[in-house]
Assembly symmetry: C2
Homo-oligomer: 202 residues x 2
DNA sequence: ATAATCAAACTGACTGATCAGTCATTTTGC
DNA sequence: GCAAAATGACTGATCAGTCAGTTTGATTAT
C-alpha cells in the first residue's frame, strides 16, 4: 500500500516531466517536425518509456495542451469573479490572458500554431479542449449579459461582444509572438481595452 | 516564335491547373497530410510533371497562397479607394474580406490553418506573402490616420485601430469555418462593424 | 547483514509504412 | 524523325509505434 502510493507519485511526476518536455519541444519545432524521440530525450527517458505513459504522439500533444488550458480557464474565472464592473471584467480578461500567455510562451506557441489549425481541419480531437477554448468567451459573455440587463452597458448581443474582445486579445497575443509586423506594447493593450470599452458603453 | 508563345500559354494554363488542384487538396487535407501525388491526380497529371512546374511541395503551397493573397490585396485596395468616409472604409474592409473568403473557402482554409502556423514557427517562407498579409492592415491604418488628422475620428493610434479591425474580421471568418462554437451570421457582421465604428468615433 | 528472487519499469534497436523528389523511359505533336 | 513534355516506378530518408531483452529495487530467505 505504502509502496503502491509511492509508485503512483513517481509515476505521476514522470508523466509531468514528459508533458513538460513535450511542451518545450513542440513549441520549438512544431507538431509535425517534432519526433517522439526528441521528447523522450528532452525528458531524459527512453522512447519506449514514453509510450508507457501515453498511447500516441497526438495524445501527448493534447495532454500538454489540456493541462495549460485548464489552468488558464481557472485563472480567467478567478479574474472575472473579482471584477466589480463589466469594464473591469473586460480589462482583467484581456490582461490575464496576455500575461498567462507571456508566462507560458510554450503553450501559446503550440496552441496558436497547430491546435487551431487542427481544429479547422475538422479533426475531432478533444471535447474538453474545445469546451475550454469556448468557456472563457462564454464567461465574459455572461458578465456582459448581466451588465446589459442592469442597463450598465449597451444591450446588444453580449455574446458577440465577448467574441470580439476575445479576437482582439488573440490578435495582441499573436502579434507579440510573430517575428514580423508591429510588436505590441503594454500601452497598446491599454488602448485596445479602452477602445473595446467605448464600443460597449451605453 | 508563334510556337514558343503557344507553348508559354499552355504551360501557364497548366501551372494554373496545378495551383487550383493544390488549393483544393491542401484545403481538404491540410499541408502535412497532403501527398504530392494527390495534387497531381487532382490536376490530372503525373507527379513528375508537377515537378517540372514547381521545385517542391512547399513552393506549390506558397504559390497557391500567393496568387490569392494578391487578388485579395487588390480587392481590398479597390474597396478602400472607393470609400468616401472612414466608416465606409472600415465597413468595406470587413465586407470585402469576408466575402472574398466566403467565395474562396479553400484559400481561407489553407491560410488560416497552416500558413499562420508556419509564420509563427518563425520559418522564413515568402517575403511577398508576409508583405501582402500586412498591406491590408496598413492601408486601413492610412485611411484612419488621414481621417483622424482631419478630425473626423478619434485621433489615437490609427495603426492599432486597424489591427483591431483586422483581428475582429479574422475572428468572424474563423468562426464561420470552425466546426464548433457560434456560427456567425450577416447580422453579426453588421453588429461588429457598428461596434468598431463606435469605438473609433470622435 | 547479505543474497536470492521476481515483477514492474525501462530501454532502444527494429519494423513497416509513408512520401518527397528523381530519372530512365515513353508519349506527343511539330 | 526528333526534341520537348510527360510519366510513374524507384530510392533514400524519415518516423510512429513495438517488443525482446535489461535494469531496478522491493521483498523474502538464509
Amino acid at each position: 500500500m505504502g509502496i503502491s502510493l509511492r509508485r503512483k507519485e513517481t509515476s505521476e511526476r514522470r508523466r509531468d516531466t514528459i508533458l513538460h518536455a513535450a511542451r518545450t519541444v513542440f513549441a520549438r519545432k512544431g507538431y509535425a517536425a517534432t519526433v517522439v524521440e526528441d521528447i523522450a530525450e528532452e525528458a531524459g527517458i527512453g522512447k519506449g518509456t514514453l509510450y508507457l505513459y501515453f498511447p500516441s504522439k497526438e495524445q501527448v500533444y493534447l495532454a500538454a495542451l489540456l493541462e495549460d488550458a485548464r489552468t488558464l480557464d481557472a485563472e480567467s474565472r478567478g479574474a472575472l469573479a473579482e471584477a466589480p464592473s463589466w469594464r473591469d471584467a473586460l480589462r482583467r480578461y484581456v490582461e490575464v490572458r496576455l500575461s498567462y500567455f507571456e508566462a507560458h510562451e510554450d503553450f501559446l506557441r503550440i496552441y496558436m500554431t497547430e491546435f487551431r489549425g487542427m481544429c479547422m481541419q475538422g479533426r475531432p480531437l478533444s471535447a474538453e479542449l474545445y469546451r475550454l477554448a469556448q468557456d472563457g468567451e462564454a464567461l465574459l459573455a455572461q458578465r456582459f449579459a448581466a451588465a446589459a440587463a442592469r442597463g450598465e452597458m449597451r444591450a446588444a448581443d453580449p455574446e458577440l461582444a465577448a467574441l470580439m474582445v476575445s479576437d482582439v486579445t488573440r490578435g495582441l497575443i499573436e502579434r507579440r509572438l510573430r517575428g514580423w509586423g508591429r510588436p505590441v506594447s503594454a500601452g497598446d493593450t491599454a488602448f485596445a481595452v479602452d477602445m473595446l470599452c467605448r464600443a460597449l458603453e451605453r
